[in-house]
């Protein structure tokens, strides 16, 4: 079984989900290589 995180890619969409689900947002600024 593959463990995989489903990442948002858009800040506004992430914040809308956070408000709807009453959760904080984790931003990962990463180096895509």
């Amino acid at each position: 079984m593959t463990n995989q995180i489903t990442w948002h890619k858009d800040m506004q969409a992430a914040l809308a989900t956070a408000q709807k689900e009453n959760k904080p947002v984790l931003i990962d600024f990463f180096n895509p290589g």
Binding site: T2, N3, Q4, I5, T6, W7, H8, K9, D10, M11, A14, L15, T17, A18, Q19, E21, N22, K23, P24, V25, L26, I27, D28, F29, F30, N31, P32
Partner: protein, 150 residues
């Protein structure tokens, strides 16, 4: 993070259930400038209004990442004066990850949370005593040093 930490089953479960994960390239504008990102990985906890409450820079192994995320959730609660939520998250961190690098800061801020919610100094003194006993060389023990006199 992609090779070790994010594939970890506990990390995946925690992130999927407890936060809204957002991933952007380090040079993505305007976010990289707005958040003053200088190195990767930079991990930031925001509240649902987009305000920053916690940040780490550099690799974190699975157990340290979860502890750091719980600390971020506690700090978001504390900053927004949701003291019950903050205490719940501080206690979760200290019970489940007492040996994590995030634990001493959690004890310090748990004392601050107790002070702010009760307006009595005892939680601050208790925090110092716990830090001195369990983490004598921590920077958070040094920061709490004045509270021994309360």
């Amino acid at each position: 993070m992609d090779a070790v930490t994010y594939p970890d089953a506990k990390v995946t479960a925690f992130i999927s259930s407890s936060v809204v994960p957002l991933r952007v390239a380090f040079d993505s504008q305007p976010l990289a400038t707005e958040f003053n990102v200088k190195w990767t990985p930079t991990l930031i906890t925001l509240d649902a209004n987009g305000k920053e409450h916690h940040r780490t820079v550099g690799f974190l192994p699975p157990e340290e990442l979860i502890a750091s995320l719980v600390l971020g959730m506690a700090k978001a609660d504390l900053d927004n004066e949701r003291f019950d939520g903050a205490l719940k998250h501080f206690d979760m961190l200290l019970q489940q990850y007492p040996k994590s690098d995030a634990a001493p800061e959690a004890i310090f801020l748990r004392g601050v949370c107790g002070y702010k919610s009760t307006h009595t100094p005892k939680p601050l003194k208790d925090a110092y005593e716990k830090l001195a006993a369990a983490y004598p060389s921590s920077e958070w023990t040094k920061r709490a040093y004045p509270y021994r006199l309360l």
